[in-house]
Assembly symmetry: C2
Homo-oligomer: 277 residues x 2
């Protein structure tokens, strides 16, 4: 494990001394939210956006992040220095805290911890060749919150791998939502279509669409399964993976089955951001 | 806390020494199943059925309970003796174990723990007057598994309380499924209707329908929202609550709004079981 110290409930402690109670409602009832950010050149990237999303997630579950953004930033700096990662992911986890009866808990005493780990990026071939998604009927249970519920994603992981897919694409038969662990967009006639409702707001996705795409039109609206299958291009965005071309949904190729020009352009722009240019 | 010892990964330990890793996939990704049973006269009740359901839940998530039923029975006896409950609940929790990257885990090293606590039963008035449920559109994400995902139940708890409801009744607009923490049945013209598909198999529910109801007809089939609203009687079953009359769904009374004769009969029979008669 590349993590030697973590932050837990007010203290930075060696990882082998960090103990979560077996009565934690995050464990007993899955009542927890989290967020995950990455460093760029060793500094937290989009920190304010991730912390805002964490607070929004918490509010959706009637929880409150118990420390200020400034304190969190200091803790992250401390952990990054102690753990000595080259580039890191930073995971912030907030649960309802210890539940004496497995049902009730006091929102005033949540469990809040922060973990930094070495960042592992996907292989270059994924960006050159593109990836596939397995279509799966599901809608995020609490779309406004990044909860820890990834049951379906993990349960269907081997099904996805069996068809060479890197993740699931959630849909309801009529419209598409998002990938299980990423935002998902399609390009039709040069316009980027971004599913708007019932999906988690993507921090990297929003950054890419709003900051790196100013010369492309973006429509925030429902996107049908048919539109997605007939799109010219598709891509996903995520914190650890950036912009990834999606060239196949189940066994249906998107466009000609190779990464499209707008997607490639966004990948190049994202790489410039990572390189500090 | 009425629990002094718990079982965790092969050992019975004082509860304050029981530490779950912050990297547990049950916490990071909600990848966990559990079961909950109660004692009757100090002995585990329907133990074999609960352990079978736990193993079925585990299999659905491609996990395996790492110890035998006999070993689990011995551990429960040990915990009940050490913790000295009058009557107890016994909670068995199984997660995918520690995940080094927040995504992958080794099913060969799950986290498995067992907690006993004092049993708290609902007040007698609930059985005399009946309870209400708040209707909510949702289907259990993985119906074949009793997972730890109770996000919606906890998130909507205050909405339920606001209308005097004890729990949620999940439905899809067309048919009803189950309560968030209990099985749910209705009685129409003397026949008990039991939703069959896309619901968790209820251990106490099955016991009540198959062992205590042999003189009543039971139909296992889909039950529509309309049938539920027009039913003569309704009741839920759960481990800690037994048989509870449900006399209102949202603001719609079931029957005349008081517990019906078949429900009252089942409550009496359940009480006889608890009394060892």
């Amino acid at each position: 494990m590349d993590t030697r110290y973590i932050y837990l409930d007010g203290r930075v402690v060696p990882v082998d001394q960090a103990a979560i109670s077996p009565f934690d409602i995050g464990l007993l009832r899955g009542y927890a939210v989290f967020d995950l950010l990455r460093t760029v050149s060793g500094k937290p990237f989009l920190l304010a956006e991730h912390l805002q999303r964490l607070r929004d997630s918490a509010e959706e579950l009637r929880l409150t992040v118990p420390v200020t953004d400034g304190e969190i930033a200091d803790v992250i700096d401390d952990l990054l220095e102690r753990n000595g990662h080259e580039e890191a992911t930073v995971r912030l986890v907030l649960t309802g805290g210890v539940s004496p009866d497995g049902l009730t808990f006091d929102p005033a005493t949540p469990t809040f911890y922060i973990v930094t780990q070495d960042l592992h990026e996907p292989p270059p071939s994924l960006y050159a060749d593109g990836g596939a998604l397995l279509m799966h009927r599901r809608r995020r249970e609490v779309p406004g919150a990044k909860t820890t519920n990834y049951l379906t994603m993990l349960q269907k992981r081997s099904d996805a791998e069996a068809i060479g897919a890197m993740d699931l694409l959630y849909h309801d038969g009529g419209r598409i939502y998002e990938a299980a662990s990423a935002s998902f967009y399609v390009v039709v006639d040069g316009v980027i279509l971004a599913p708007k409702d019932d999906v988690l707001w993507g921090t990297v996705g929003t950054y890419v669409l709003e900051t790196l795409c100013s010369d492309h039109e973006v429509e925030y609206r429902d996107v049908s399964v048919d539109e997605a299958l007939a799109a010219d291009e598709a891509f996903l965005t995520s914190t650890t993976r950036g912009v990834v071309p999606i060239v196949r949904l189940d066994d249906r190729l998107i466009g000609d089955g190779s990464p499209g020009p707008i997607t490639r352009e966004l990948i190049a722009r994202w790489r410039s951001v990572l390189a500090g240019r």
